[in-house]
């Protein structure tokens, strides 16, 4: 096997007016001024998304913030089986189970906290859930907040979404 030699195009020699740079600088200034003027005249041509007001539409399979599903009667669909917290590689789900008042259901989560600061958004909890009680289809990532406590989502906030 021979070692392949790749021919790389060398930068061509500059012509004399180019090597003076001055004309080229003026040309460059023309380009930047063109961008400036066209962006001032047509503001909608600017690609920047003004984030809090305008949001980028997320692709349908984007794994975002979690939400807990509800039954028809409004109770959480979760049966506190600990499958999600076991599957979680970041150990960010804390569940405390309690006896369900509904005789058809054995257990329900008294507490269901997700520490969003530790979550790695891998989707394992969704995969593990036997009852389709947890989903990550809110289409949005965790918004910033000013304390750590506010970023531990409790069952109430998770059910709301």
């Amino acid at each position: 096997m021979t070692i392949g030699v790749i021919k790389v195009a060398r930068p061509r020699e500059m012509s004399f007016p180019e090597s003076l740079y001055l004309l080229e600088i003026v040309k460059g200034l023309g380009v930047t001024m063109g961008h400036l003027l066209s962006n001032i005249v047509r503001q909608e041509g600017i690609k920047t998304i003004e984030y809090p007001e305008v949001r980028r539409p997320m692709p349908p399979r984007f794994r975002g913030k979690h939400r807990l599903m509800k039954r028809e009667n409004g109770a959480p669909r979760c049966v506190a089986c600990y499958c999600c917290s076991t599957a979680c590689p970041a150990k960010c789900i804390t569940i405390v189970a309690g006896e369900s008042p509904d005789p058809a259901v054995e257990k329900y989560p008294v507490r269901f906290d997700i520490d969003m600061l530790r979550c790695v958004f891998c989707g394992m909890c969704v995969e593990a859930c036997p009852c389709d009680a947890i989903r990550m289809d809110t289409g949005w990532f965790t918004p910033p907040d000013d304390t750590r406590e506010k970023l531990i989502f409790t069952i109430d906030t998770l059910l709301e979404k």
Binding site: I25, G28, T32, H35, L36, I46, T48
Partner: protein
Amino acid sequence: MTGPLFDIAVTVARIAVFFAFCFGLVVVMTWVERKGAAYIQDRRGPNRADIFGIRAWGLFHPLADALKFLFKEDFIPDNAHRLFYQMAPMFSLAPAILGIAIIPFGPDVTVMGRTIALQIADLNVGILYLFAVSGMTVYGVVLAGWASGSKYPLLGGLRSSAQMLSYEVSMGLSLIGIFMVFESVRMSQIVAGQGGLLFGVLPKWGVFVQPLGFILFLVAQYAEANRTPFDLPEGESELVAGYHTEYASFKFSMFMMAEYLHMVVGAAVVATLFFGGWQFPYLGDAGFLFPGGFAVAVPPALVLLLRIGSFVAKVLFFAWLYVWVRWTIPRFRYDQVMRLGWKVMLPLSLLNIFATGLILLLLNR
């Protein structure tokens, strides 16, 4: 008002007005830089700071910046030399402020039977004063780099002092042609000399008399002000932020102010020396006099207004040019800067002096 009192009042008023103009322009330039950079790069730029919901295209951002700088922690690194570390921003800002003193903002004005020059000090040494003052800027940078007690600022300080010393030479030599043509170093006389016509058509501005000198001076000035493409001293890609890496809060804002004040004063100097200062093309004391012999009478008050307006417009243009060039041209490599300074600029400025002398000799024979 009595004589001396009137003089003092006039002096104080002049200083106050010109300072206010320059510092106001500094504030506006920070906004222009950010907004201009954004639009050139297809972004939106600052537009969030608001007062009672009025956003005004981000015009309040400089105000927000100033407040932020004022209230940030004034931090001194452990390794820094305390006294010199604190002196460096002052060394940087003071020369920039001093430069305002010799800029003629307009023609002489007669108020209450007295002639008042719209210039803080019309020195006999004129532009040499500016060189003396701008030579002091190096200390701010060097001291900041050394006193921070950290590697990157030290490298930035070394680079910038070498660069400033190199370009100071060609900056001084590029202006000699102007001195020869207008036969003075006094700012007011250089401006007055640019009122005539060249070949009966062009205004006798420095840029038409000394095109090479103009280009050399402009380039040297960008290098002196440490602006792109000569902003090696703070090249972020290799030196974090160069000589002001270790600075924060108000001291950092003093460096920033010095940089923008340099831009404003530099723009005013270029406008004065090469673009006729306050001279409006074809405008005499009595009115317009176009080359074809066509004349329009203009009242004196309007003449004054037009002249000051033309100066302000020129300053604004050259201040904008700093921003425009910054977002167009990438940074040079350090050896390229030095090669340009010593092997291109210096011989060209010497050639310029020689050619100017030759032409003047042949014309005056």
